[in-house]
Symmetry: D3
Subunit: 232 residues, 6 copies
């Protein structure tokens, strides 16, 4: 392909469902840490609800700002266990998604939406139990008149999302795990979780991170000095 | 009038209460869409509570930033069913409104506040059940020393608000409906709501927006191509 | 001392616990107002929970952005009734604090955290009942490799925080009360609270701030004019 | 009129050219101050050039974000001495205006553009000497497919702009002077300018504002205390 | 590869130099428009100088925020005609690049820098004639202690940048053209430029875009009404 | 002192003029780096001019937002070689300073202004050669009615500024050097400058930072791998 085209890609590869569900249980902070602090989309995608923790396969959408035509095209390609990832070719605060589209996605078993724009009908969405992470909440509606693409690589915050990549989202935000990293991510995250559990027990009993992680020597090496009191 | 003056206007025209209450039931997204996507004040006015949905007649206030003298002047002119709309002549994050003023407004039957600044005592306001949409939450208090106006046309985000215009606010934000549009807005919003209800039923049963809105032809016309798979 | 150094100061002076607890009961807006509208850190520190109202002695930390080594060093110096105040030498959105550190702080009786960066594990923190005020929520984790200081004067938003100063935080944000002002702050806040209670009763019964605060004369003096109606 | 409509209004009233040109010479800060600190659109409209100072009659445009169809419609209605004012129904960073449209406007004697969005071809615009104040600079181009209005009242930042109102713009930003205030604005601005000139001479010779404006008494009255030295 | 690794890739494919130089002459707005409005990194990358227009092959860098170790590693791989593209794994305002690194890059014939962070020594950089587009200007310096990657795909604003992709930058911002699109981009941009030149001549002579682009019919079709005057 | 008071402190200690002038010659990036990367006020204070590089003793001012009374009080206390540092008790975009005050300050030999708010008359200020670093440019004027303080410790961005501290400002922003650090800052900055000069010569001749700073070993130690090519 040498010319820029607008494409809707029908078939994508997805990661193993067992791995995806296990990542949902881990939470974004643990997975992110386990992968060497990779995958964060940044602090600007915020949940419209508290307490949701999901993971799913990315169906990616690239829209013209303020135009939701391509979201309609994407819905047909969604399967149970997917997460819809909507991006725009320029910044937008439009409420590009609402309760009607959520009805459609819930009928297909989609687990949630991550959108680099606004969302609306947030009261209804919370009542319906449809989970959303967005940059804005806004009543500003959209048109259906400009072309775009579905299931092509897109940029979501600071990450590239390929169709079929794993989207993990909870109260802390949204991270992306490459599809081919699924098994490794589970393995590393489980190890991380076990380490965290063990550490939590120690810390709750009063042991200090300074001692557990052997940081006292590091402080000395970096030239940090202990003094009894500031003289002012 | 040829010189800029500071005015407090005692009497304003209000829209019919039945129409206002009907718009509150519709929600901002439905009304905004019904009116051809007009009236949004933008994504920056956020509720301090979840689940409130109100509409009321605007009592408008124009203040000096960080000075709430004119809010005091406005309260006297409020009636049951009104919504107080507070703006500033320059950007401000001050907490210009708190629980004391809310006590006063609740005693008069005012339905809520929209303020282009900060608000404080938000814990108390939630406990009292007084609804607020603001740009900021801030403890920073105010003085009472600069003149301003009440019930003159003001700018709220991206909208002109004339005194007596209808303010609709819910979890999605704040929209303004011109007083003279009240009946038409109700009629258009009811039609929009009925359309949404019918569409929701179809979508929940698995029909696609692509088919319901006949968007497949549009995609073709715009040159969007379906492919089975991305070759990489 | 003439060279910039990285210091960990072991001993600090704290204010009287009775005074601190009384300030927690007052709430930030009342204390801020009582002190002549001083002490606000500004509108950018937001709670991750609703309804918490705390006060405590500041343990101050100055970190390199995205590096939590010095937080570990600070924990050892925390006592029951303290509040941890974490700042950075440059802006950062990193989630520099999570549930592991919170376990450690809760084991020591620390009342909460104020951090000029991001926080993560927010779902867990809410479940644990550990209170946090931050600028961001973010999964982005940190390293432990750069030096900094503990219990030196730091800047938190618009305020200088000296170790041992009183940090008050609730739904409205975070304010700082100088340690040496503790008793005076309590006295002034109690007076302010009594005044607010009396005023609230009057306002709820329908009296107007215009009359209670004698603002009608002020409006006239400032040249604000009453008119019956806008002619358009 | 009771239904929201999209209108292009052919004829508008303009203020007297002599008054407009005099306001351009005064500069925005002087006019703003002379009018009692009214009319500022806020700090977000920035010039793409240094040193321009213009005033003109507003031709107002309301667009759909990212769609410049209505700007084309507006150009036909522009006359020599006008300033084009472009707003959007939702926030946009699109580069909605470039050198082609500037060629068209320069052929008609238009003095500049103020746009609540982005602008592009900024290098060319500077070379052509066409003056622009915008919120953003962006290459992101637009479509021509959504309806809007020309010469209806619009909101520009914090101001209502009626068609024919006077737009003043220079290095400090953009202010709006109501058409009916033109003569009064000139009179007040000239007085302000004379006052500023006289004051500048005094200040340059070393006299203090404290004495010229008799502020020493005010400081005392407000309880500000002079001390010789801070004891620390 | 299944584990996340930190890589420095020595060899990349570059586009044809003739095509790259031709795109530099076109300017970002023309190329962006010619490609169907694709490729914009968004409005947040601003030049530190006026009047530069460059294009070059991307050498991509992924750093830890506030750490410039990987920029040092990247310099060795730069050739004449390249543009350095620096990104971070989390948001940063650090001044991660200054005149020393610019000396190094100029010695290798590098055409400029695009950085998703801050830059410093901007006065020196302007004097040296080294071109930079950045998100921030900041004195805040960096450490050299965290790993990252060179010449892997990165995210720059709203775009994926693959090593060897073409970076075009001028006063309007930064766009990315896929390496494989080089020839097509030149062809489309030349056509667009010729169209713009022809249009500019017509518009400067007073013809209207309304007529040239046949927009009058579109206005009618969209229901936009012409009226002679607003009745108020 | 136990009660919050508004103070104007007449006498402050200043650093040695020779040291201050030497720091101005160094530039902010060199001084900041020499002091171990301390002192930055952050990326939000921007110059209104290009090419100025100053240093001076801080005269500090704390104002109510939108009120410049205390700036007038501060001017009397300024001496040749000082830099005026203006802060607010809450965020403000007001143009709190203009050409009249600059006339007064230039008559006293003041070297510039750093202001945590807006500035206006920027065209005039550039023509007069008075240097300003601000957060905003804005025509929005101020009143003269609220008390504040002069020459007390203030917060400027991320730094505490004590009266008499050294303010260094150039195209890269503003840094603060503690008065008592003056001699040490000069010594460290000169060493840093000599190191930079030597490094610049090496880099310009084609040597690499990788070799000069011995970073190749570090890359290996951190697990960064060199590969010849990305296989895709």
């Amino acid at each position: 392909m040498t010319r820029p085209r607008h494409l809707i890609v029908r078939n994508i590869k997805r990661a193993d469902h067992t791995a995806i569900d296990e990542l949902a249980r881990m939470g974004t902070a643990t997975v992110h840490e386990a992968l060497g602090r990779l995958g964060s989309t940044g602090p600007h995608f915020r949940p419209i609800q508290f307490g949701a923790s999901i993971a799913g396969s990315a169906i990616t959408v690239s829209c013209h700002p303020g135009d939701n035509l391509m979201i309609h095209a994407a819905i047909e390609l969604c399967q149970a266990g997917d997460v819809l990832v909507v991006t725009n070719t320029a910044p937008s605060t439009h409420g590009m998604f609402g309760d009607l589209m959520a009805s459609s996605l819930m009928a297909r078993g989609v687990r949630g939406l991550v959108i680099d724009a606004g969302v609306r009908d947030t009261g209804d969405l919370r009542r319906m139990g449809f989970f959303v992470w967005s940059q804005h909440v806004s009543v500003e509606g959209t048109v259906k008149s400009a072309p775009g693409s579905v299931n092509v690589p897109v940029v979501l915050g600071r990450q590239i999302v390929n169709p079929g990549d794993i989207v993990c989202a909870d109260d802390d935000g949204v991270i992306i795990v490459g599809r081919e990293l699924a098994a490794e991510a589970v393995r590393l995250s489980q190890a991380r979780r076990d380490f965290e559990t063990a550490t939590r027990i120690k810390l709750s009993s009063g042991q200090l991170g300074l001692d557990i992680f052997e940081l006292r020597a590091k402080l000395t090496e970096l030239g940090v000095e202990y003094v009894d009191q500031l003289d002012d």
